[in-house]
């Protein structure tokens, strides 16, 4: 534990390198996870998922820089594309759901359980 704490301090105060980006992306990812887990509004949950996907992009681009390899960036572009597609479908689902149930609060959507 102590060693990794020292590592952590080293990362914070040292030269900016890939590890910084990784930690940052992890933090953003975690924030996204918290959003998904706690918010009631479906749309905000969707946005939290976008945050998660973006943190992945940050990873990819940082690795791309680190490895001097463009694949990461291309991958990131695909991730953005997919995120867009998902957002579209997700919002479509939200709309059809809203049309039937008049709510976008996920904790009121529990018709099926058990």
């Amino acid at each position: 534990m102590v060693e990794s704490l020292l590592d952590f301090l080293h990362i914070i105060f040292g030269q900016i390198d890939t590890a910084h980006y990784l930690v940052l992306s992890t933090i953003v990812f975690s924030i996204g996870v918290v959003g998904v887990l706690t918010r009631r509004n479906v749309i905000i949950i969707l946005m939290s998922i976008e945050l998660m996907l973006n943190s992945v992009n940050l990873n990819l681009v940082a690795f791309s820089d680190r490895l001097q390899d463009l694949s990461g960036q291309v991958f990131a572009v695909f991730v953005i594309t997919v995120a867009a597609a998902e957002a579209a479908v997700g919002l479509g689902i939200v709309i059809s759901l809203f049309r039937n149930k008049e709510t976008v609060n996920v904790d009121q959507i529990d018709l099926m359980k058990g």
Binding site: L37, V61, F78, A88
Partner: protein
């Protein structure tokens, strides 16, 4: 300079990300997300990935977020005052998410040694950074031609799907 820029952008990103998931009003939440994504785009630029950064701004800020706002307007116009933001499990969720993030960071930091012991390679990105967009484009249309084409179908499917789901009558 790089350090400064990194921390500034990181701060923007993290702070706005937190705002995004805590804002009461979904519209505000969306706007905070836009800000966070802009910060992210800044980081991309910092990493010399101009193309991805640009796509980030164009697609996300310009496209996806507009869609979000549009839907927000459509479905949740009225905001009930005093309605809870978070669901009933939020305390547990926060604790567990914290545990998860601690584990993630612990693992990331533990494994990131790989990236610090080796010297940074002088590769294509630094060599031909001016041509980043061109290179990415070339890769997209050669190495990643197939995924690119699949992605197009994917977008089509998303479109059809959104239409199927959202239209009143089909």
């Amino acid at each position: 300079m790089e350090v400064f820029l990194f921390y500034t952008l990181a701060a923007i990103l993290v702070v706005f990300a937190i705002f995004t998931v805590t804002a009461r009003n979904p519209v505000r939440s969306a706007l905070y997300l836009v800000s966070a994504l802009l910060g992210m785009a800044g980081l991309f630029f910092l990493l010399k990935a101009e193309f991805v950064g640009a796509v980030q701004i164009l697609v996300y800020v310009g496209g996806i977020m507009v869609l979000f706002l549009f839907v927000i307007m459509l479905v949740s116009v009225r905001e009930v005052q005093g309605e809870r933001r978070a669901n009933r499990q939020w305390k547990t969720a926060v604790v567990l998410a914290t545990v998860l993030s601690v584990e993630l960071i612990f693992f990331v930091v533990g494994g990131a040694d790989v990236f610090r012991t080796e010297a940074v390679k002088q590769g294509v990105i630094t060599q031909i950074q001016t041509a980043n967009t061109q290179n990415v484009g070339q890769m997209l249309y050669t190495n990643y031609l197939l995924p690119f084409e699949i992605a197009s179908i994917l977008l089509l499917v998303a479109m059809i799907g959104a239409v199927v789901l959202a239209r009143k009558e089909l």
